[in-house]
C-alpha cells in the first residue's frame, strides 16, 4: 500500500446531494443495552449497560476497551448483526436497525472471512452488489480501490492465497466499496505490518478530509491517538470516559524538571522552599499543573541553590495511561475482569459506575 498511499483517493460517487447525510451527528445513540440469554433462559450476560454515544460527522472516532468490554457488540448492534435489548437514538439520521441506511455505511468486521473461492475483484463486486452499487460503478470503484490498497496485481487472484495483511487491505477496500458516509473499522490494522499500518493511518486521515466519518475499534492505542479526534473508553459494558484526547488528558497534565545527579539534598530543599505542589523521585521533580508560571518558583529555588537543571518539560498522560487507568480497579490495582457479567452482579472488579456520558447503573 506504501506506493499507493498518496495516490488520489477514488472519486466519490456522483450521488445526489440529498442522499448524503447532512446531520451533525452520524451516530447519536442512547441507552444501548444488550443482554444475551441462553436457549434455556439461563446464563444471562449483560454485555452493554446503557451506552450513550455521539459521533460527529467528518470526524475519526475511536472506541477503546479491553477484551470483552462490549466494543464489538456495540458495533454489531449498529451494523444490525446483533439485535439490541434496548436502543434509542439515530444512526445516520435513522433508527438503528434501518436496513436501507446501511447503503451509506462501509464495515470491516474483526476477523472477517471472505469467500475463498472468490478473487479480490469478485469480492468487491459481490459485496458491492449486496450494497446495491450499480455494476458500472462497481467496476470503476473496484479497480480504484484495489490500487489504493496496493492489490491491483492481485485483483484476479483467489482470496485463499492471500496473507493476513492482504486480506485486511482487501477488507478496507471492501468497506469503501459503497462510497460510504460512515466507515466502521473493527481492528483495521490487525495483522498488518508497520508500513501498512502507516498507510492505513494516512488513509483514515484522508477519508476524514473527504468529509467521511470514521468509527474505529482498536486495541492499538498509539495509533488511535495519532488519528482520532474523539475517543470513548468502554469498560465492562459501560462508557468509562468519552471526549477529545485533549479533554481527556487535560486533568493529567504536569511538568517534569530533571536535575543533575549528586544534588539530592539541595533539590529536596528547593522543592520544599518553592511551596509548589511538587514531588521528587529519582532526580525528577513532578509538578502537577499545566500552568508554566507555577513551575517558575521551583526553577528559581533550584537555581538559587546551584542545582543543575538538565531539562524542563510539559508532560501529559498518553491514551494508554488513560486506558490503563480506566481498566484498573482503583481498590485492588488489578485489571478489571473482562466482560460485564461480574459488574452486573456487583462483584469486586465491577465497572465504573459513571462516566462522562454513561449514566450510573442506579440512575437507570
Amino acid at each position: 500500500m506504501t506506493q499507493h498511499a498518496n495516490s488520489p483517493a477514488p472519486a466519490r460517487a456522483a450521488a445526489p446531494a440529498a442522499e448524503r447525510f447532512r446531520g451533525d451527528w452520524v451516530i447519536d445513540v442512547r441507552n444501548v443495552d444488550k443482554q444475551y440469554t441462553g436457549w434455556t433462559g439461563r446464563g444471562r450476560v449483560h454485555a452493554l449497560r446503557g451506552i450513550d454515544m455521539r459521533v460527529h460527522r467528518g470526524s475519526v472516532f475511536g472506541l477503546l476497551g479491553p477484551n470483552g468490554a462490549g466494543k464489538s457488540t456495540l458495533v454489531k448492534i449498529l451494523m444490525t448483526v446483533i439485535r439490541p435489548t434496548r436502543c434509542e437514538g439515530t444512526f445516520l439520521g435513522m433508527p438503528v436497525g434501518h436496513k436501507p441506511t446501511l447503503r451509506r455505511v462501509g464495515y470491516l468486521p474483526e476477523h472477517h472471512r471472505f469467500p475463498e473461492y472468490l478473487t479480490a475483484a469478485q469480492v468487491l463486486d459481490f459485496f458491492g452488489a449486496l450494497s446495491d452499487v450499480p455494476r458500472a460503478e462497481r467496476r470503476r470503484r473496484s479497480s480504484e480501490l484495489l490500487e489504493l490498497v496496493g492489490l491491483t496485481t492481485w485483483a484476479g487472484k483467489k482470496v485463499k492465497g492471500f496473507s493476513k495483511g492482504m486480506r485486511q487491505r482487501l477488507g478496507i477496500a471492501n468497506a469503501l466499496m459503497s462510497d460510504p458516509d460512515l466507515v466502521v473499522l473493527d481492528e483495521p490494522t490487525d495483522g498488518v505490518d508497520p508500513v501498512g499500518r502507516r498507510d492505513i493511518r494516512n488513509l483514515l486521515v484522508r477519508l476524514r478530509d473527504e468529509g467521511r466519518t470514521v468509527f474505529l475499534n482498536s486495541h492499538l492505542l498509539s495509533e488511535l491517538e495519532m488519528v482520532c479526534d474523539r475517543v470513548a473508553i468502554l469498560v465492562q459494558g459501560v462508557v468509562s470516559s468519552q471526549g477529545t484526547i485533549e479533554e481527556l488528558t487535560r486533568h493529567s497534565r504536569r511538568y517534569e524538571v530533571e536535575v543533575a545527579p549528586g544534588s539530592e539534598a539541595a533539590t529536596g530543599e528547593a522543592v520544599a522552599a518553592s511551596g509548589a505542589a511538587a514531588r521528587l523521585a529519582g532526580g525528577v521533580i513532578t509538578i502537577e499543573t499545566d500552568d508554566a508560571a507555577r513551575v517558575q518558583p521551583v526553577i528559581d529555588a533550584l537555581r538559587s541553590r546551584g542545582v543543575v537543571i538538565r531539562a524542563v518539560r510539559p508532560v501529559r498522560s498518553s491514551l494508554e495511561d488513560l486506558f490503563m487507568q480506566a481498566v484498573t480497579d482503583p481498590n485492588t490495582g488489578r485489571a478489571l475482569a473482562p466482560g460485564a457479567a461480574g459488574a452486573a452482579r456487583g462483584e469486586a472488579g465491577g465497572a465504573p459506575r459513571a462516566g462522562l456520558m454513561g449514566e450510573p447503573e442506579a440512575a437507570r
Partner: protein
Amino acid sequence: MRQTLAIFLDAYRELNSRKLFWIVLAISVAVVGALAIPSHDERGIVVFGQSAEMPMLSTKAVSTVAFYKFLLQWFGINLWLAWGATILALISTAGMIPEMVSGGSIELVLSKPVSRLRLFLTKYFAGLMFVALQAAVFAVGAVLLIGLRAGVWDLRPFMAVPLIVLFFSYLFCVCALVGMLTRSTLLALLATILLWLATWAVATVENFMLDQRLRHEREVARLRSQSETMRTTLDALDRQIAELRGADRSDAAPEPGEPSEPDAGDAAAPATPAEQAAGTPNQPPPPSRRPPSRRGNRSILDAGRQLLGQIDAGGGLESLERNRAAVARQVEQLESQLGPATERAAGSTKWHRRVYVVAAVLPKTGETKQLFQRYVIDKRDIEGLLRVLMDVTGDQDAGAAESAIGNRSLWWVIGTSLAFEVVILGVASWVFVRRDF
C-alpha cells in the same frame, strides 16, 4: 434484484469452484450416454447385440419411446439423480448455510442493506441451483436420447428438472435449518441423511402395509363374491329340487320362467376401501387391474351351469340333492374362511392407517421422483408393462400397491411435502431473522 442476482452468482461461483460439481455433471452425462446403448426386441432387452429375456420391456409390452423413458426413470432418476447425485449434491451444498453464518462471514452479509429473510431465502434457493443444473443437463441428455434412439422428439423429460429440484429441496430445507442452528456442515449433513432414511423407511413400510391391506381386502372381496355366487347356485338348486318334488307330486308342467343364470359373479368386485383411500376419490383404480374375483367366480358359475345341465338332462332328484349338499359344504367352507380374512384385512387396515398418518407429515421423496413416470410415460405403456408383469409373476396383485400409490393426488405427493418444507423453512427463517450472530 441486484442483490438477489449477486447471491445467485456467488452461489454459482461457489459451486463452480468445487470439483465435485463438475464430476457429478460428467457422471450425469455418462449415465444418459450409457442408457443409449441398450435397445429392445420381442424377447426383451438387447445390449451390444446380445438379447436378454425381459418381457416387461419387450416390444410387445412397451413402445421404444417408453422403453427409454423407463430406463431413464429407473436408472437415470431413481438410481442416479435421486440417490448418487443427491448424496453428492448434499455433500457439496451442506456447507453453504453453515459457512454463511460462520463468524467473520455473517457480519459481512448482515451489514448489507438486505433484509435477513430475503438473504436467507435467497441463499437457500441458490443452494438448489446445484441440482437444478444437474437435472437440466440430464433432461437435455434425455431428450436427445429419446430423439436419437426412438426418433421421437419429446420435451416432457424436462419435467425431471422441477421434480428433482423439489425432491432435493425436501432434504435441503432440513440441511439449511440444522446448518443454521449448529453452524456445522457435518451435523447438517447427518441430520439430512437421517431424515432421508426416515422418509425412505416410512415410505417402504407404508408401501408394504398398503400392499398387505390391498391383498387382504381383495381376499375378503373374493371370498365374499364366491360365497354369494355359491349361495345363488344353492338357491337355484333348491328351487329346482322343489320343482322336481312338486312335479313328482302333481305331475304338473314347470312354471314358466326358468331360473336365470346366476350373474352376481360377473360383476366386477367393487374397489376396496384401501384402493379408495390410496387414490383420489374421482380416480378409478388402474385400468390394468383385473377384478380378482372373476376367475374364481367363473369356475363356480361353470359348476352351477353343469348342475343345471344335469337337471335339464334329467339327472334325477337324488343326484341333484347330492350336488346341493356339496355346494352347501362349499358355502360353509367359504364363510368360515371369510371371518379370519376379514379380521386380517381389518388388522392390516388399522396398521396401514397409522403408518399413513406418519407418512402424511413427511416429505414424499420417492413418490415425487415417480411423478416423472406419471407425466412423461404414456399410460398405455405403463399398463402394458404391468400386464406383462402380472403374467410373468402369475401374481394378480403384483404392483397393486405401486399402482395405488402412483395414482395418488398431486396434493398428497407435492402439497404435503411442500407443507413440510414450508414449516421447516419457516422455523429456519424465523430463527435466522431473530438470532444474534
